[in-house]
Amino acid sequence: MMKRLLDGVSPRALVLLAAFAAALVAAPYVASPYVLSVLIISLYFAFVGQAWNLMIGFAGLLSLGHALFVGLGAYTSAVLFIQFSIEPWAGVCAAIAVSVLMGSVIGYLGFRFSIRGVYFALLTIAFAEFTGILVDHSGWLGGSSGLFLPVTHGNGNNVFMLRGSQSMFYYVILFLTGAALVLCRLLVSSKLGLYWLAIREDQEAAEASGVPLFRYKMIAVAISSGMTGIAGVWYAFYYNNLFPEATFSTAQSIELILGTVVGGVGTLFGPILGAFLLTPLGEVLTGLTESFDIDGIKTFFWGLCVIAIVLFRPGGIWPWLSGLLDLDGRRRRSQP
């Protein structure tokens, strides 16, 4: 497995990755709570970004309603915890099941009715918004006033209960992001990954070469939605309150995918790079524009930054950066 993980990766890239990972592991010991919270958010978007990346980068399906799976995972585990005292390490199984089920339904409908491209994207938006409205009107889920998880303080860190200090949550999301990276790398360099890339490049040629389209697209959708469901569980227990408007909205879905699109869709490190670029950028802009005290000024510059990135680095920042630093050796975009 180690061979598969490392095969084809240039030593330079490995060193940089190791340094980055080391810095992240050491962070809670040296960083202030504020910086740590920014890192936590970055890691969260890196994790969900990788999940979303699977669906578009490999199954070629653009999902603009991915917040649906965060919400499903969050609400499922939260309700199980509140109503039945089921702890998150067990609740996550249900959360994954619900997310995968919903994802499979959407994927199946999309496939069965041959819905692609922008139509599929709209379908995902519709499902997410529809679910959000349903949850908004469901009293037993807290409705629009929100669902609140009971928090007990001062009992130390308990990973399985997802209760503890900020550092504990940090390490959990760091672990999840790292595990996702390893998983994606293993998948991509397997039969599954190669079939996915073939589907992405030319569906019909892939089919003629023996690739069962439906099965492999559905696998991508299932893994993508399941992973996002796990993120939802973490989200629920970190924030301890869930509001349908915020959790399921299209605005949330867009926020989830920004990092990946900016970093580079279909690449391995794109989602992580993008998340660690945009989140701190947002904070920096907030800091710079706070003193002006004008509504909207931060988002104004933020939007301009994104436009600039799209216009000047349309393939994403990661491919450009890795080319610049010669991180990919002789291989190119289909490997990290």
């Binding site: 938006i125 409205i133 009107h137 699109v261 000024i297 933020w302 939007g303």
Partner: protein
């Protein structure tokens, strides 16, 4: 409930639907020809609404009279937006185009926030509370004028595409990009014109809507989604379809308001969207090929 109420609600819905249809025309024109999905649709319209408000507040121009001005202003905006910015992503993947339009939307909203602030604002015309009485029908004057204005602008648009050379040239581009290039049409300029026209529709629809609703910077997303629902139901790329879809959604939303809470109304629209996407993605009047 007495039948009159149904009738009144339906007529009110129809009139509102005409405006929705006009805004959806803008979306449909852009997608039908340039094949770009304008995710900044609602935000551009909101921009137009604020311009209308400005004209009303500072120059006393009635929103309906402002329609041509706002349409021209947004036309120029759209023309240059397409020519300078959007054109560069035309060959890129869907998600990149989407991200660009979403970012443009954010910039527009931010500008509106910066200039006008987050609070809702309205234009109170002198005849805001008058109404027409025709038998059992009791309709607000503003709604009637608004609906009629939308109808007039839509008719002008149809006429443009049907009878003018430029209009036909634009339709040609939409039908067959390569063919248009080959026969020597200046596709780049025509695309810019098309985007401009699409935004002009939005400007007109926005100016008309100012008569009916309060304006605030966050209106955008719901109108974008609404326009998508209308265009999908009516058929992407079909102009009559956009109007028809607008009428349908206008009426169904109004009628749904009679039977359920307002917030559930959008659930009905989304449900309809899902059904249409699954069962008849080309919509009512759209072309079957995608």
């Amino acid at each position: 409930m007495p039948a009159e109420i149904y009738l009144n609600v339906a007529v009110s819905g129809l009139l509102t639907g005409l405006i929705y249809g006009l805004s959806a025309l803008g979306l449909s024109v852009i997608f039908g020809v340039i094949r770009i999905v304008n995710f900044a649709h609602g935000e551009i319209m909101v921009g137009g609404m604020f311009v209308t408000l400005l004209l009303f507040r500072h120059l006393g121009i009635d929103p309906l009279a402002a329609v041509p001005v706002v349409a021209v202003a947004l036309f120029s905006f759209g023309y240059f937006l397409q020519d300078l910015v959007v054109r560069r992503v035309a060959h890129l993947a869907d998600h990149m185009q989407f991200l660009l339009m979403a970012a443009i939307a954010v910039v527009i909203v931010s500008l509106c926030l910066m200039i006008f602030g987050p609070d809702a604002q309205a234009a109170h015309v002198s005849y805001a509370y008058d109404s027409f009485e025709i038998g059992p029908l009791l309709v607000d004057k503003v709604r009637v004028y608004a609906g009629l204005a939308a109808l007039v602008v839509s008719a002008l648009l149809f006429a443009f595409f049907r009878y003018t050379d430029t209009g036909k040239a634009i339709r040609a581009c939409g039908d067959n990009y390569m063919g248009a290039l080959v026969v020597g049409l200046n596709v780049r300029r025509l695309y810019a014109l098309t985007f401009g026209i699409g935004c002009a529709c939005l400007g007109a629809a926005g100016a008309i809507l100012v008569l009916l609703i309060d304006v605030h910077p966050y209106l955008g997303p719901s109108y974008t989604l609404l326009a998508f629902i209308i265009v999908i139901i009516g058929g992407l790329g079909s102009l009559p379809g956009a109007l028809l879809g607008g009428l349908l959604i206008g009426v169904s939303e109004a009628m749904a308001g009679l039977f359920m809470q307002p917030s559930l109304k959008s659930a009905v629209s989304f449900g309809l969207l899902i059904l249409v996407l699954l069962l008849r993605p080309q919509g009512l009047l759209g072309k079957a090929a995608r």
